[in-house]
């Protein structure tokens, strides 16, 4: 029994809005597997950069409304099928954190399906030149499968213990004044990506060397991509030189931030590249410095 990816969707063609993109991805993802909207028990938004720098409500209910996901189960008379929506902000690690959270709802029987969505955009909703990420609508539908050995396992999370965070994004409301709704300041330390590669690969090496994860069993690596080749460099530094194929879509999509892991998985699943029992290493790395990973058995 395990948490499996039942469907996925990713596209750069959503509307210029974080809510709009996530809703667009949610609807398309559900349409792919022919699932009814009332069957989504959890809607988790992992996108960070959002329309107008809104901080209340969470983005997820706005996405739920726009996607038409169970918006008023009382009026519909369907209180036995309701949706709980909330946001998780864990940067590029948000997807794996959402999977971990959703899995605990599956295991207690309090949810059967969880939809994870993302769609980062500059708060001005324009292709702003300072925005270091690409805007990609993405969604992944999670469910609990009875099958033996399928799904996610071996979750691992790590944050560096020093005082350096590598990359930051914030907006000072007093300094930015009347343009705070459409402003965001991004700062990247000079050696950020090199340190990220070292940090993520050290985490993997620890897992391989301690026997908690078998490097030989990995067929694909789905990984954050702040720069082209970041995943390959992490894999090499961690000694993953064998058969594992690193998915790097940087040339097509750039750094899709919180959507990256879903985009790369969708590429694999949509391209008919996967066969039963293939193993995918999901690996996120980002500011903090933070890294997380889990193994997914198809």
């Amino acid at each position: 029994m395990g948490t499996v990816l039942k469907a996925s969707f990713a596209s750069p063609d959503g509307p210029p809005s974080s809510v709009g993109m996530a809703a667009f991805a949610a609807k398309n993802c559900l349409a792919q597997c022919g699932m009814s909207i009332s069957e989504v028990d959890l809607l988790i938004n992992v996108g960070v950069f959002r329309d107008d720098n809104i901080i209340e409500p969470a983005m997820a209910p706005l996405i739920q409304k726009q996607a038409g996901l169970n918006p008023d189960p009382v009026r519909r008379g369907s209180l036995d099928h309701t949706t709980l929506s909330f946001d998780i902000n864990d940067g590029p690690g948000g997807f794996l954190t959402a999977v971990r959270v959703a899995e605990s709802f599956f295991k207690t029987g309090r949810a059967r399906h969880a939809l994870v969505v993302g769609g980062d955009i500059h708060p001005s909703r324009t292709p702003h030149r300072d925005f270091p990420f690409s805007t990609m609508a993405a969604a992944a539908l999670l469910a609990f499968a009875e099958g033996d050995g399928q799904g996610f396992s071996g979750f691992h999370f790590k944050t560096s213990s020093n005082g350096s965070f590598g990359f930051s994004a914030n907006v000072d409301l007093m300094a930015n004044g009347l343009i705070s709704r459409s402003s965001m300041n991004f700062e990247m330390e000079e050696d950020y990506t090199d340190r990220l590669i070292a940090f993520a690969s050290e985490m993997l090496l620890e897992l391989f060397q301690s026997g908690r994860m078998n490097a030989e069993a990995i067929d694909y690596v789905v990984v954050s991509q702040q720069i082209k080749g970041l995943g390959r460099r992490i894999a090499e530094a961690a000694g993953l030189n064998g058969k594992a194929r690193v998915i790097d879509l940087y040339d097509q999509y750039g750094d899709a931030h919180t959507s990256t892991l879903m985009v790369s998985y969708h590429h694999l699943a949509g391209g008919d590249l996967l066969k039963k029992n293939d193993r995918i290493l999901f690996l996120s790395a980002g500011s903090g410095l933070s890294a997380s990973c889990a193994l997914y058995t198809v």
Binding site: D52, A58, P61, I88, R100, A169, N170, L173, S180
Partner: protein, 353 residues
């Protein structure tokens, strides 16, 4: 403790932080160029609220609450498996809206958690802390973690500052902003050792049809944060739906009001609370005593239920081994219920002598 094959989770310790400065509703109204026609204090029940200093923000307030919690907890920072930051506001370094890395990473490092502990921010408006309780309850029950710390540093008086400056009409979307106060709460949860202790159930629903009735974002009239709430519509839609949801939850979990010693509603305004409780009384058969501290703290957003709980625990007003019915009502619109026996927290605060 195991129910069936499932572990039960409990509240292990509770920490709080309140800024020293107290601002009265009268003082706030005095500052307004356009005064409301109605008596705000009478209508909302908010007399005072805590107000941050320039040096305090969501991060410093959350840190102070977390340190207070750890002083009372049997866990040291390196024993914590997950940290969940659940505040709406995420200011760090003044009115600096911090998006990346998320605030939990700063808290995790400053508190000295293990590098391999999980940490993330989870927001769900004023239902944030109770939603985090729901999440952590599931994670502890399934063994994903052994324990966890939920932290919220709500630095929300900036919306009151903006409302004071921007309210121009006698009916204005920013009136609800005048009721808020700053506070920090940290809650440690772990596995219950006693079958009678801990969380019995948590149940939440998002009525997203009304998601845009309350929005908070930077103001476009003055530097700062603003909240625009259609308070009457929110109240009407919630009150209209609460009975059926409550009835459903009562049947699902086989409860009546007799099963609880106290009910803690979200602290919005006394009138809204009274209306919601009147409905609860009708359906719960018996209404447990309602705990309210809105007069001294105002609406403290995601921390509100635990500010009230702390207030009553500290003043030793609760019966021994109380069972509490937490009632969440938040923008989104979120309606949620958490039922928990809090004997462990009572022991932590000490009993009436």
């Amino acid at each position: 403790m195991v129910i069936g094959s499932m572990i039960k989770a409990q509240f292990e310790s509770l920490g709080v932080f309140f800024p020293d400065r107290i601002v009265s509703t009268e003082e706030l109204i005095d500052r307004m160029p356009v005064k409301p026609l109605f008596d705000l204090e009478f209508l909302t029940g908010v007399k005072d609220r805590r107000w941050r200093s320039d040096a305090q923000d969501s991060y410093t307030i959350a840190m102070a609450a977390a340190l207070d919690c750890l002083k009372k907890s049997r866990y040291s920072p390196e024993q914590i498996d997950v940290l969940i930051c659940a505040s709406i506001s995420h200011f760090k370094g003044g009115l600096n809206l911090w998006m990346k890395p998320d605030l939990s990473k700063f808290l995790k490092k400053s508190l000295g958690l293990r590098p391999d502990a999980m940490s993330f921010c989870m927001t769900n408006a004023c239902a944030g802390m109770l939603t985090a309780v729901h999440i952590l309850n599931n994670m502890i029950q399934t063994g994903a973690v052994r324990n966890g710390l939920i932290v919220s540093g709500e630095c929300i008086t900036p919306i009151a500052d903006t409302a004071v400056r921007e309210i121009k009409e006698t009916i204005d979307l920013q009136f609800a902003s005048l009721t808020v106060g700053d506070s920090g709460v940290a809650l440690m949860m772990d596995r219950a050792e006693d079958e009678n202790e801990g969380i019995e159930f948590a149940d939440f629903v998002t009525l997203a049809e009304f998601a845009d009735l309350c929005l908070a974002m930077p103001s476009n009239e003055n530097p700062g944060l603003a909240m625009y709430a259609r308070a009457v519509d929110i109240h009407q839609e919630a009150i209209l739906r609460l009975p059926r949801i409550l009835k459903f939850v009562m049947k699902k979990h086989q409860i009546t009001g007799r099963d609880f010693d106290y009910v803690i509603p979200h602290q919005t305004s006394t009138r809204a609370i009274e209306a919601a409780l009147a409905l609860c009384e009708k359906h719960l058969q018996v209404l447990p005593e309602a705990l309210i501290s809105i007069d001294r703290y105002g609406n403290t957003a995601s921390t509100s239920h635990f500010v009230v709980l702390h207030d009553h625990l500290e003043n030793k007003r609760l019966k021994k081994n109380s069972k509490i019915f937490f009632l969440a009502l938040a923008s989104g619109m979120v309606i949620g219920f958490v039922a928990a026996r809090i004997g462990k927290l009572e022991a932590c605060y000490g009993y009436r002598s």
